[in-house]
Symmetry: D2
Subunit: 329 residues, 4 copies
């Protein structure tokens, strides 16, 4: 039996708890959340005891932690867990400062613990199938990746202010996806952005509509578009063009129903947001983390992947501000 301590029992922490509960030979042993109701929910669901972060870190029977606390706590908790010799699953981003992330990774590295970052989209059945198609050579050498990612609506302004901005909060998923699909490191980034959906976002120093163009050393290109507005649901698509052809992953809908009348044919809007769209991905992600804990060899998004995505986000912000493309070392 593998024992896991859960730090943070909000919406995403509960999702992870449910995913673990459905697996064999693994359990949530202890849960921490300053909001008692949240922790109690996980307790009721899994039988885990409530505990402080420190108790979890010092419990020798706990093999691993899942960090689903607010972003500004991630880095400290990773370091504590690393020093306590526990394997770590941490929600993205590790931290909003690349320097802090590097320090953090060094600590985890020194401690020799596994660190997996919650880039859940890599586990989406559609995107992972695209990656399988690439690995199987179905599109030949990758040349151009196009990623469209649009939220149904903007988060609250308070969230926007704390988020590190669209590039570090939202597009960071797409930076990771671009790396996942390009199969080669990015060496140059250029980006632009606008405030089109809500002036308050601009007042908070952020943009709500943005695009970034990435290049690798061999000249492969990725283009990402993001918006905080999509009236028709959560728009999440990728397409990868290569020397032999193209692989794309289209959106998902709640049903396959089509209604036709004199105005034409109509279909449902898309699944509304990430908890629905990526429901299976969250399960698959935790299933992978638990498989790793059990000693299986699996590919997973590492701390380095978390760092690289943040570096791309930082470069995009710099490009937005300077109007110049930014080279990465």
């Amino acid at each position: 039996m593998i024992r896991i301590g859960l730090l943070g029992a909000g919406r995403i922490g509960q999702t992870h708890a449910r995913a673990v509960a459905a697996l064999d030979n693994v359990e949530i042993t202890a849960v921490f959340d300053p909001v008692d109701e949240a922790a109690a929910f996980v307790t009721a669901l899994t039988g885990a005891r409530q505990a402080t972060v420190s108790q979890i870190m010092h419990d020798d029977k706990i093999d691993a932690v899942i960090i689903a606390t607010p972003t500004d706590l991630h880095a400290d908790q990773i370091e504590q867990a690393a020093q306590a010799g526990k394997a770590i699953f941490c929600e993205k981003p590790v931290d909003l400062s690349a320097e802090r992330v590097r320090a953090c990774l060094k600590t985890a590295d020194k401690a020799g613990v596994k660190l997996m970052i919650g880039f859940n989209r890599r586990f989406d059945q559609n995107f992972s199938k695209v990656r399988e198609a690439l690995d199987a050579g179905k599109v030949g050498n990758v040349e151009l990746v196009q990623i469209t990612s649009r939220d149904p609506s903007a988060p609250p302004i308070d969230y926007v202010k704390r988020s590190g901005g669209l590039f570090r909060d939202m597009m960071i998923h797409d930076f990771d996806m671009a790396r996942f699909l390009l199969g080669e490191e990015v060496v140059e980034v250029s980006a632009t952005g606008s405030v089109l959906t809500d002036p308050a976002i601009g007042e908070a120093g952020d943009v709500d509509t943005a695009t970034a163009t990435l290049r690798t050393a061999s000249g492969k290109i990725a283009v990402i578009t993001n918006s905080r507005r999509a009236s028709y649901g959560y728009d999440q698509r990728v397409e990868v063009h290569g020397s032999k052809g193209m692989a794309s992953a289209e959106n998902m809908r709640p049903t396959t129903v089509v209604i036709a009348n004199e105005e034409g044919y109509s279909q449902d809007p898309l699944l509304d947001f990430f908890m629905e769209r990526y429901a299976e991905a969250y399960k698959s992600e935790l299933q992978t983390f638990c498989a790793i804990l059990a000693g299986e060899e699996r590919s997973y998004p590492s701390g380095i992947d978390g760092l690289k995505a943040l570096e791309l986000a930082d470069a995009a912000v710099q490009s937005l501000e300077t109007g110049k493309s930014v080279k990465l070392s």
Copy 2:
């Protein structure tokens, strides 16, 4: 807390046990299966004790039974449960003899117990959404229903022999779906069938490819096609044409991935079979049964619905044999 006894812990019984386990305020208290491993699986999953049918029927703390045993046991077990005053969920078909079904329903009726039949497709998110569209008047008055239902491959010949034949075993789902979508009772049936996929099916006295045409008193028409062969997956579609337009439910695939190359565009085959395609429907079905047990008013497929579908199957068999359409009283 509502307590349920599970009769039969094979594949479908286990599916129902899992569905119940995910619900609040309801539990599988006892489970019967002559195969010890099957019963033990449910015990491990739910904490239910193993018991005999008789023990379950005589346990006053048990409110309801789920009957997932072989078809030839259904009718007896319905009658026992009815006499014991328990609510009943029974897999389709109730029995292969319409007369026996009628007797059974009479017993349940006299006992005043609820009887729900496992026409799981009514709970599929796609088909139920089509029905909602009809109820909302989106296609106007229904005129023509087309149902396509194709299994990936034929069941073992042993199963074919015991099954009551394609019309009573496979198309019975579509007869129920036709009634669900027509919104009016069928008064006339004509059917035809062939042996095209495997001569052994013909030797067993059955067909593997068949079609039935149903008419209601007001002239609405439903056309059903069935086959035991579909190389591209489990093909399950309906379309409903009315005075104002059309509503259809298309198939489901494991992913939304499209690969394009010089040969064209390609997509996954369909979900392979009913356990995948109707996974959500099975959950929703048991969720409805439990809601009914908890006193909620919900529409559900009743014993009468089970009988009507069987009568349509019998009429189809008669039409196949005589080459004449068969009138229903």
Copy 3:
């Protein structure tokens, strides 16, 4: 230069004239239509002279006739043309009486002239591509054909009265398509129909919603559904299921535009009616006729095909009236 006489210069006659005008080495030499404006239109378009039917039949320089007159004139004109030794393209149906058609074919046969029937749908790029897929073995042995054919709205009652009824006027195209796709002669027909769109159609002795089921000697099945109502455009689809898979031809739309908003995704209605949907088919059909005149070997719908489709329509009418399936000799 091949010279053609055009009998009938209404909408379909004009379409044929335009198709011929676009081809090399063939011309419309003479045109007959009792409506002077109609004939004059063709004259202006092609330089053809106006002429009587008799003048066309007796003009030795005319190699072939296109018969696009009202149905009740077809048989006589075929016989006149055959006796004059001219190749014949005749719109469907040859006649509403199968006996009359047989006599007609005998005359053409004796005269040794080519007779092509205007089953334009065989030349539709979609349906002909399905047939190519069948010929290439892509679906294996054909088992089940499903044909959906729905007009946007019913023709005028006057037309209905003269039409020979839905089975001989509308479903006759689908009977031909079924034969085209089954690859084997039909030996048994059963049909049903209703009056659902307009009571006046019933008063005229016809139905507006109908279905027919066809069987071949080896047990292949075709199911056809027809309606005189489709608010969303001209609905014309086929699907062919075989031992190895399925080939289908979907509908056509004026554009590929998709609009998405909070209500979902929407697309254009279908192309409105046969002149739009089958525009390319009409051209391809006449192109084939002219290729045959020029001595090329091409497969085309013959007089026998016209007769067979009518016999299926007659059998369907008989089945509708008797409630029994009808065997064909």
Copy 4:
């Protein structure tokens, strides 16, 4: 009767000749092409006489010219035609030098003649329908335009060398489309590109895979991706996101046929290239030009539109070379 002189009778000149031939009250009176066969083809098709450029320019009965000669002749011929008082339809680009184009437009302006540029995609039924949807307010205020444009394969290296490069030869169509869909002038351009399909393209000083990002003064963004390689056909798509929703135009295929087997579902590759994909657009374009000649008020791509697209191409080249975004005055 409007009389047109055709300069250049190659593939595109012939297409225009055919389009004019199908219209009433307009004719190709004279045709010039140094290749006698090409000119003779148009003569045979339309009855036009062969003539020199000078003869066409000095023929007072000729109202308008269609310029379909090689690019390096366009500007001179526009100026000659303008000075001769003739309306002008000119294939894109007017010239590869923006300065030369400006001089040219000044001449045409001074002469008061109409000048239409052959941005045929504005006339594509799909893209023009998207524009109609925008004009009808169906997506609200435009925020983000995404344009995907991929040729099936690269042109000959000789052509590449003379073409002015991918941005001026290929993406110029997309720059015009971006302006057509943004509804606001672009003020900033950034671009990148790679040589991925053929090193010879790089040796010729060009790229074969490229992307450009455009911004308007109010912050609207357009992202264009281009490639000289698409194994699955001619890939031409746009999507426009606005405050209320999204409008997209998808690709076109030769048929609607779907084949399903155990490997999944497959469809045709796309229409192969621009002569097929834009066949209707070319007709509609010339029909618009002739309508303008006849005095109708119609919106059309003007000389200014030709200039603006070229300026965007020049800016993209500059951005590619400098790694900086380029501001337009």
